[in-house]
Symmetry: C2
Subunit: 205 residues, 2 copies
């Protein structure tokens, strides 16, 4: 692409650095911003920079936070004795959006994946073990990706927690709501048969 | 979506204002920026704001510019006697990227479209007429969208220019390179037959 303005070119290049944004999309976004009020573009820029500069990670659960402790951990209405263990911040947002969970979280920052060079030491696993020893935790719910890496991570943490007198669960796996049986992979279908549930449990959900 | 950080939420909302960016994509972009160095995110924000604040429109051709006159108009290597009339800045970038055109431009800022409430007065048509009267223009090439609005705009400007002793052309319309005949619409195919060209012209391109 040939630009007659280096200001325009620089802005397009900045947008094109973002994942999934190519040069043409970047140009479209920049030309859109060019049409907006200067004050609104300034608001855009400042909000992004402020977010990066001021955002913190919760010292307890490693979720993103505006303060040292995130708003979920600080909320006394939530059950502080149930921890949901997730891979990343996006999973917290996804579970929060269901409005079905009233406990607190622990963000691992990834899952054990030797092929990608991610071992237990790179993750927030030790802080989780410490929390369970210090706080009065009754249940840990694993909400990790349903694959080999997720299962490995669950197995690793579970082994470390063997001594602790707590309930360890994982979110249910099975056929997605609205999903068609014939398109489900064999592994999921097999597990959903093995872990079948009484109809009364299902209907009450 | 439920966010535990208002900093994160604000940043996501700002990205989600951009055209074609939904909440999920916005979150993906913000989480990407969160992983980058603070200085690089600051560079991103500043570049965008600087672009909006400092960019100018060329006083001669209405293209985007870093100064009062754009780099294309200011380039003495380009033929100042040929003007290519385009609808918007994006068209300038598209034509420049072909590296086949060595004249200068005139950006109309749209095309005549009564249904959208765009008449000749909203466009940079008068400045174009002025330029043709003042500058020594030999040829005007219309590179407008091949539709009714584009044709109306060409017709309107052409009528205004009747007295001027200049050559008026339009970019060739026909079957796109690599396009298949059977998928071309009738109008395009009909025009490409009416405006057929000698094979020697074609082969030399």
């Amino acid at each position: 692409m040939q630009f007659s303005s280096s200001l325009l070119e620089n802005a397009v290049n900045e947008f094109a650095k973002l994942p999934g944004i190519g040069k043409k999309t970047a140009l479209r976004l920049v030309l859109h911003l060019l049409k907006q009020e200067a004050s609104s573009v300034q608001g855009f820029g400042e909000t992004i920079v402020k977010m990066r500069d001021e955002i913190k990670f919760c010292q307890r659960c490693y979720n993103v936070a505006d303060a040292d402790i995130c708003s979920i951990c600080a909320n006394s209405m939530r059950k502080q004795e149930i921890i949901c263990v997730v891979e990343n911040i996006r999973d917290v947002i996804a579970i929060e959006s269901t409005q079905q969970y009233n406990g607190i979280y622990h963000v691992l920052g990834g899952i054990i994946s030797p092929l990608d060079g991610v071992g237990p030491d790179q993750l927030n696993i030790d802080p989780l073990i410490n929390r369970i020893q210090k706080e009065e935790i009754q249940e840990i719910i694993f909400a990790l990706s349903p694959n080999i890496q997720g299962d490995t991570t669950i197995y690793y943490i579970q082994k470390k927690l063997k001594a602790a007198p707590i309930k360890i669960t994982t979110i249910a796996r099975g056929i997605a709501f609205g999903g068609e049986l014939e398109y489900a992979d064999e592994m999921t279908l097999a597990r959903s048969i093995t872990n079948r549930m009484p109809v009364e449990n299902y209907m009450s959900k």
